[in-house]
Symmetry: C2
Subunit: 205 residues, 2 copies
DNA sequence: TAAATATACTTAACAGTGTTAAGTTTTCAA
DNA sequence: TTGAAAACTTAACACTGTTAAGTATATTTA
């Protein structure tokens, strides 16, 4: 049994190696430049060997995506210290914007590309860390309403609005669409102003 | 002179033909399935001939994109009849959501893919119809503020917030991310509720 | 220990992609 | 009618994801 376990462990190590090198490639060359052959070259295996460890390229993308979510959640640990729900929501939004702008390739994978979602669907699995992040958002919104800081409304509606807005900001920025609204050097600043505006606006008078 | 003019006209006709068939392919098979060879087959030319009429594939995408904006603007013509700025902004948002959900392939091209933007940048040209749509948004926001219907703020900030939110809703929906927040059959409805919520919230008490 | 089996990995290939260089056919002016 | 210019095609390059078939390398069984 110990021998089969060791083999399994080795297999897992190679899987990890493949994922690690894939992510490095992402960050260095961008999503569109990542190919099975390039990953293979990095891990010093033939391209077809990767198919012994993953079903297809999309599955590799999916697991990279998962690791992106972990990265994102780590950033939010310090959030627990903020007790005021609105302030906490605000900081969560700021973190979201920063994560997107600092890790555009990850963000692309996690929220823009359809490939990882396709895999998720035919794996029947959950969006583990993604669901977790959304759950956190809903809880904050609920909390804010309970404390009378927001006008009462359906939690899902408000959560969707807030998430859509920050996602909209990041994804339009990443895809160079916000340059069309303000000068490039003002984009980042205005994004934060928009977020501030939303929170100030939604706060019960 | 008349003969060279006729030639030019013929050239334009072929360009139009290529674009038309490209767009049909989009709608029928989706962005990712559109290839130079498939377009060529449809217009009954060899693939390389397309390069005599367009610099590269991205340029074709760019022009398809332009036509998407025209389609979108047409939808907004009836908006002029609404005099109340908030109501007009609301209807503009509803139109935006509907356009995105009804023409996901166009929407993808116009606001999600980076290819057309790349072409735009190295063409040095403007985002003609896109700019027009954004200008309309800014004017409405300004109008609403002038009439005291919105809390005063920087126009660009509010415009960016509103655009980002509707874009966020549509793009997350198209990429199947909103299913993670509410059940699939409730997505469209909740999107509209989120939009309603935003407008109700931003309206000056 | 030797043969049989299972595991790990690679080579070769298919069908597709965007794009370019070179060659052919057609059109039109001198 | 000849010659040049325009329009178009063929062949090829360098990629892409993926599969089938073959080859080594361990591991198990006789």
């Amino acid at each position: 049994m110990s021998i089969v376990a060791r083999k399994e462990k080795q297999k897992q190590e190679i899987r990890s190696l493949i994922l690690e090198e894939s992510m490095k490639l992402f960050v260095e060359e961008g999503f569109s430049k990542v190919s099975v052959r390039k990953i293979a070259e990095r891990v010093q295996y033939s391209p077809t060997t990767l198919y012994l460890y993953f079903k297809d390229k999309n599955e590799i993308l999916f697991y990279c995506c998962e690791s992106g979510f972990k990265k994102m959640l780590e950033q939010n640990i310090a959030l627990g210290l903020i007790s005021d729900p609105i302030e906490r929501l605000h900081q969560m939004g700021i973190n979201y914007l920063n994560f997107g702008l600092e890790n555009p390739e990850y963000y692309d994978l996690m929220f823009i590309q359809e490939a990882p979602m396709a895999t998720l669907i035919d794996m029947g699995a959950g969006w583990s860390s993604g669901d977790q992040a959304l759950e956190a958002l809903k809880i904050i919104v609920q909390d804010a309403m309970d404390k009378g800081l927001l006008v009462p409304a359906k939690v899902e509606t408000v959560a969707m609005a807030v998430w859509s807005m920050v996602h909209g900001l990041v994804s339009l920025a990443i895809r160079q669409r916000l340059d069309k609204l303000v000068a490039p050097e003002e984009v980042e600043n205005t994004m934060h102003e928009s977020l501030d505006w939303l929170l100030k606006t939604m706060k019960k008078a």
